[in-house]
């Protein structure tokens, strides 16, 4: 039972981690908490459903489609709602993000209706028994895909030129641009990667839990934001760790009989971590410039 619940937790956690990565990267570079990120995840799930249910497209192709559509949306949101506000107060883009979030929720509610939509059965749900633990094919697919994406992201950030530019921009935005880095391109790229990961998370969650609805991004977005802060906002490994940590904690809470408190668990953890380690689990200590 323990191992079974651990797998449930890791599966849930890896979807949180995928969304959390988007928060963390955007925050790392432009210090903006992109509250519309949860909605990108929701739209990704809807694109996945439409591709699979209406156009009968293979699930992996549908995943790429969702990622592509969300890259376009994510980058356009940045261009329309955040870029013009880049030189204004920190609060302005935050409010703008909340506005975009509500706009996208409402738009999807009008387009798709307020009811939850079932996600069609795309993968025949084979069960694998390893000792006393049962793992479903969908769970394996989610774990493997999430793992591959996170490792891929880490490689991009470490070794590819645009990744280095991202790190430079997150270190010091103004200096980076003085050094000849096209910061606007870096920011667009960050939004593109973050949005595509969120879209992938959305499709996987739809595939795993079989239900999507226009407001699904609200709670998932908040939880992923929690995960990002837990791990240390701005840190990519931190977002992954925070996501997994949160997923496992939530499932543990439910497993010992506190199913009603599952959302409260996430936010209580957030408060506790912030109280004892304000920079998050893997966050760098705040350096004062002298």
């Amino acid at each position: 039972m323990f191992w079974q619940q651990l797998i449930n937790g890791i599966t849930l956690g890896s979807t949180y981690a995928l969304i959390a990565l988007g928060y963390t990267m955007v925050y790392g570079i432009i210090q903006l908490i992109n509250f519309a990120h949860g909605e990108i995840y929701m739209i990704g799930a809807f694109v996945g459903v439409i591709a699979v249910a209406v156009f009968k497209i293979n699930i992996f192709l549908a995943l790429f489609m969702a990622m592509a559509v969300c890259i376009i949306i994510g980058v356009s949101v940045e261009r329309i709602a955040y870029k013009p506000l880049r030189r204004s107060t920190r609060l302005a883009p935050l409010i703008s993000a909340i506005g975009v979030s509500i706009f996208l929720q409402t738009l999807m509610t009008v387009l798709a209706g307020p009811q939850a939509v079932g996600f069609p059965q795309v993968v025949d749900d084979q069960l694998y028994h390893i000792g006393s633990v049962t793992v479903s094919k969908v769970q394996l697919i989610i774990l493997i895909l999430a793992g591959v994406m996170m490792i891929g992201l880490q490689l991009i950030v470490k070794y590819v030129k645009i990744g280095k530019a991202m790190r430079a921009a997150s270190e010091d935005y103004d200096t980076a641009s003085l050094m000849g880095i096209n910061v606007n391109r870096v920011i667009s790229f960050t939004f593109a990667i973050g949005s595509s990961l969120a879209a992938a998370g959305g499709v996987m969650v739809g595939m795993y839990f079989n239900s999507i609805h226009p407001l699904m991004g609200v709670m998932a977005g908040l939880k992923a934001f929690c995960a990002a802060v837990l791990g240390g906002i701005g840190s990519i490994p931190g977002a992954m760790l925070g996501g997994l940590f949160l997923g496992i904690a939530e499932v543990t809470g439910v497993a010992i009989g506190y199913g009603g408190y599952r959302d409260a668990i996430a936010f209580t953890l957030l408060i506790l971590v912030l109280l004892f380690k304000p920079t998050g689990l893997l966050g760098r200590p705040i350096q004062r410039k002298v």
Binding site: M1, Q5, D125, N210, V251, V254, G257, G259, R262
Partner: protein, 401 residues
């Protein structure tokens, strides 16, 4: 200058509109006054627009059918029955206004409605103060009839239905152990779980595990894993259809074969849209099911008539209960030989073994009905390519303790 002229013009326009409106209302008031002498007015309190419009519209359809049937048979006490309809638009704030209007402007002798518990509770004190009979054809929550001795309802109560269903599951299906699932942010679910718990205790069924979920959750893997390795015969699920379908899907995913039983909160096709094959065999109880093979002539007549008037669509619980509500009031007026609510209230309260389209109704001392039978519906595949439907598994008799 132009502005001043415009304002003057507008003022004149508004005044004339007000005057016209005034004429209109006094006109219709006069008409109603004369009509009141030769008609018995029954008011409809419900929504024709807004969130619960589907409940209200169906209730109204049933009420109108009842009035037609009564009038075709010569009316009551030589007078015809008129349904006065209004619309509160599913808004709490409008419910009291509409109730007040029905009583004081339209002079109804009785009100049928509201189909929901919350709005009935808003309207009931007004009806009680004015000593007009209010019969809710849908409110199942607590604290309704307690408001006063003019407040009735004709719906099957969970407090009677759930024990009857529990009895059926133990005696006919041989259930001895169950898992109980409650949605803790859903008032209905929490209340129904309490009722089920008492009933399960009474019939000696062991609850092997209790799991909590929340409305809006989509991930039930942890709760379902808690069920694995435990032995039980069925799942008592007290929440709504979306979560019910998803929960069962997870149950099948984790390799369990049990089915679910629950209240009419699960009664929606969304149950199998979410759960697909996983909910086949699952059972839901309801106060009325359009059983076309019934041997009850009244029910059969109602179903046929409804179908012929509504493109062959089958009636639902609300239209049937709306029909019965008007018929109950009409019979009470007939028995009391009076259209005064203060008089026919007593004969309504003494209704015993009354045959309606939704079953046999007896009004108990607390003005709540015992209604028999309760229908247990089962999700079954229709055979044509993965679609599903409700089939009637059993009609369980209900008795009061």
């Amino acid at each position: 200058m132009v502005n001043k002229k415009l304002i003057a013009l507008l003022t004149v326009l508004i005044f004339s509109l007000v005057a016209l409106a005034g004429c209109g209302s006094s006109d219709s008031g006069g008409k109603q006054q004369t009509k009141a002498d030769d008609a018995i007015k029954i008011g409809f309190l419900g929504a024709k627009t807004g969130g619960h419009a589907s409940y209200g519209l169906e209730t109204l359809k049933g009420m109108k059918m009842a009035a037609e049937d009564i009038n075709a048979g010569g009316g009551i006490l030589g007078k015809e029955v008129v349904i006065v309809e209004d619309d509160h638009g599913s808004k709490n704030s409008e419910a009291s206004t509409v109730t007040d209007k029905l009583i004081n402007n339209n002079k109804v002798v009785a009100i049928v409605g509201d189909p929901t518990t919350g709005l009935t509770k808003i309207a009931a004190p007004i009806a009680q103060d004015n000593q007009v009979v209010l019969l809710s054809a849908g409110a199942v929550g607590t604290g309704v009839v307690e408001i006063g001795d003019f407040i009735f309802r004709d719906t099957l109560l969970d407090a009677l239905a759930a024990p009857a269903v529990t009895k059926y599951c133990t005696e006919e299906l041989g259930w001895k152990k169950v898992a109980l699932v409650t949605s803790i942010n859903n008032d209905y679910s929490v209340g129904l779980s309490k009722i089920f718990k008492d009933a399960l205790n009474k019939y000696g069924v062991e609850i092997v595990t209790e799991q909590q979920i929340k409305d809006g959750d989509t991930n039930f893997s942890a709760q379902v894993t808690n069920l694995t390795g435990k032995e039980f015969d069925g799942i008592v699920f007290t929440g709504y259809y979306t979560e019910g379908g998803l929960f069962m899907k997870e149950v099948r995913k984790q390799g369990m074969k049990q089915v679910l039983v629950g209240g009419d909160g699960l009664l929606s096709p969304v149950l199998w849209e979410m759960g697909e094959a996983a909910v086949e065999g699952s059972m839901v109880y309801t106060g009325f099911a359009p059983d076309t093979k019934t041997d009850n002539a009244k029910t059969k007549g109602f179903i046929d008539k409804y179908q012929s008037a509504n493109d062959n669509k089958l009636p639902d619980m609300f239209s049937a209960q709306g029909y019965d509500a008007v018929m109950l009031i009409a019979d009470a007026i007939k028995n009391a030989q009076s259209t005064d609510p203060k008089v026919f209230r007593d004969s309504l309260a003494q209704t015993k073994d009354w045959q309606g389209v939704t079953g046999t109704i007896t009004i108990r001392e607390n003005r709540e009905p015992i209604k028999s039978p309760v229908y247990l519906l089962e999700v079954a595949p229709t055979g044509d390519g993965g679609s599903r439907e409700w089939t009637i598994k059993a009609a369980i008799p209900v008795t009061a303790d």
